[in-house]
């Protein structure tokens, strides 16, 4: 004899639907200084944004004509407004009004790359939007929809910003190589080291990107069927673990590189030359 009809003789109510949470009113019971990391993040990001904005619109001190150092903040420089020698790819565009930065082609993409970056998202969602300010600390918003709708659904376009950032990193590399040939021919100074270190770290940040990890190999179901892509994925994964560190380090190196070029080109300091 098989299954009798299944009618529960006693209706079982669903307690979960009616039950409430433990009545604890405190926003958090954390006893550590959980507010320190979001505060530091905010300060760090604000400092960079202010510096970068000011510098992007300054239109001075971005190219050292003697050593051919070009700051990444103005690369690529494509308009007639660029100072002589700084336009490595010609000047297909005429004069630009002052409210448009000279690197108008790269800056939006770089900004987008970082804004949609999985690490920076965490950083500003936590420290600026307080969603949540720290783990197990209640957020102040009544409603939350996350990245399910506009505008935040645009975060899904991160991979396109990655493709753009990849091209820009190539341009920055080209700039850094060109800087080995100054007015006096091939030479090598501290500025070259600065540009080179910056470019290497930019590559580290760009290649450690989660989208890069996905497109190089992460999307595959069978690593074993494509050993080359698996190897690349492994390397990218190793970098990816440090994506956060690279995100912060490159903010610093970008600013310092720019500052160095600024100071050298305005003759506040002289470039330390090793060769020629």
């Amino acid at each position: 004899m098989a299954s009798p009809p299944q009618t529960p003789q006693t209706p079982t109510d669903n307690p979960a639907a009616t039950r409430s949470r433990a009545s604890i009113t405190a926003r958090t019971l954390r006893t550590d200084r959980w507010w320190v990391p979001p505060l530091l993040t905010t300060l760090g990001l604000a400092a960079f944004v202010i510096y970068a904005t000011v510098r992007s619109f300054m239109r001075t001190g971005y190219y050292d004509a003697e050593q051919h150092y070009l700051t990444p903040f103005y690369s690529p420089c494509l308009s007639d407004s660029c100072v002589a020698g700084s336009a490595h790819f010609g000047t297909p565009i005429g004069e630009l009004p002052g409210f448009i930065p000279l690197a108008f082609l790269s800056l939006p993409f770089l900004l987008g790359f970082r804004l949609t970056c999985y690490y920076y998202r965490k950083a500003y969602y936590r420290s600026i939007w307080f969603s949540p300010p720290a783990c197990a600390v209640a957020e102040p918003h009544a409603k939350y929809t996350g990245e399910t709708r506009l505008p935040l659904i645009v975060q899904n376009a991160h991979r396109y910003f990655f493709y753009a950032a990849f091209v820009i990193a190539l341009i920055n590399t080209y700039d850094a190589i060109l800087a080995f040939g100054g007015e006096n021919g091939v030479g090598f100074g501290l500025g070259n080291v600065v540009l080179l270190v910056n470019v290497v770290l930019l590559w580290a940040y760009t290649l450690s990107c989660h989208s890069c990890r996905h497109v190089t190999g992460g999307r595959m179901k069978h690593f074993s069927k494509n050993p080359v892509r698996y190897w690349i994925w492994t390397q990218v994964s190793r970098l990816n673990v440090r994506h956060m560190q690279f995100a912060w380090i490159t903010l610093a190196t970008l600013a310092l590189t720019d500052l160095y070029v600024w100071l050298v080109s305005t003759d506040v300091i002289t470039d330390l030359r090793f060769i020629n």
């Binding site: 307690p15 979960a16 039950r19 409430s20 949470r21 433990a22 009545s23 604890i24 958090t28 019971l29 954390r30 006893t31 550590d32 999985y118 998202r121 965490k122 969602y125 936590r126 969603s131 949540p132 783990c135 197990a136 209640a138 957020e139 918003h141 409603k143 939350y144 929809t145 996350g146 990245e147 399910t148 709708r149 935040l152 659904i153 899904n156 376009a157 991160h158 991979r159 989660h210 989208s211 990890r213 996905h214 992460g218 999307r219 595959m220 179901k221 069978h222 690593f223 074993s224 494509n226 698996y230 990816n240 673990v241």
Partner: protein
């Protein structure tokens, strides 16, 4: 060696409750669960706490210690100073049953909504061939002991009860990732991950990863790769076109 530790434990049920102070003996090498047990055996025999293996393997004794989601059996007393008051409360995201015990049925409901493992139909038992490099990613997620601390800490539902219907939580989004990366699974759960299970709610603030007692990289290895896969399926016209033209499936 031993000292009198100050414990503040939430006691009550879904009607009401409050934090109550106790003083309990603590000895070298003990964990918070040892003290809760001593409290039970000596002062409050009906103090409710859920526990099982006491070795960090079953994920039963999840609660919050000083406001942080933790396994009571893996929280050593030595991380606190002797004069510190240690506050132990039930997981906040779930309805409380009594004292430190919560109703975690939300998780079991969500588990049932994830489409199960779907092997190729013609493959017989014993014929499964998989390479270690291909199973490794999913194996990391299968370390999960289902303590539900990630679900507890996730602000999407911790701070917004109303999101519980639309959001499966890190544990079950990771389960989707595990199946998506399973070398022999033939189902496609990418679209549903976004529409039915609420992957879009995740804003990758990484609290799930921070609390995971198994140190699974939930965000970096499961949620973000899953978001990228969803982007492949839903938000990337080039990939979409490529799939249409070349009829690739899954790589």
């Amino acid at each position: 060696m031993g000292y009198q530790a100050k414990l503040r434990v939430w006691r009550g049920d879904d009607g009401s409750g409050d934090l109550q102070d106790f003083t309990v003996e603590a000895n070298e090498g003990e964990v918070v669960l040892d003290l809760i047990h001593r409290l039970q055996a000596t002062q409050v025999p009906d103090l409710a706490v859920r526990w099982n293996c006491k070795a960090g393997k079953c994920g039963s004794c999840s609660a919050e210690v000083n406001g942080r989601p933790r396994l009571l059996c893996m929280t050593r007393m030595s991380i606190f100073s002797e004069d510190e008051t240690i506050t132990v409360t039930p997981m906040r995201t779930f309805p409380v049953i009594r004292d430190l015990v919560t109703d975690v049925s939300y998780n079991y409901t969500k588990a049932r909504e994830i489409p199960s493992f779907t092997p190729p139909e013609d493959l017989k038992p014993g014929e499964y061939r998989m390479q270690q490099v291909d199973v490794q990613r999913s194996q990391e997620f299968r370390k999960c002991i289902e303590c539900f601390l990630c679900q507890d800490t996730c602000h999407v539902i911790r701070d917004h009860e109303e999101n519980k219907t639309a959001f499966a939580g890190p544990r079950y989004l990771m389960r989707i990732a595990e199946l998506e990366m399973h070398p022999l699974d033939v189902a496609d759960r990418r679209n549903e991950a976004q529409t039915d299970h609420g992957l879009g709610y995740c804003n990758i603030t990484k609290c799930c990863t921070e609390v995971c007692p198994e140190n699974i990289h939930i965000t970096d290895n499961a949620l973000i790769p899953m978001k990228e896969r969803v982007a492949d399926r839903r938000y990337d016209p080039i990939v979409w076109l490529g799939n249409k033209l070349f009829r690739r499936n899954g790589g």
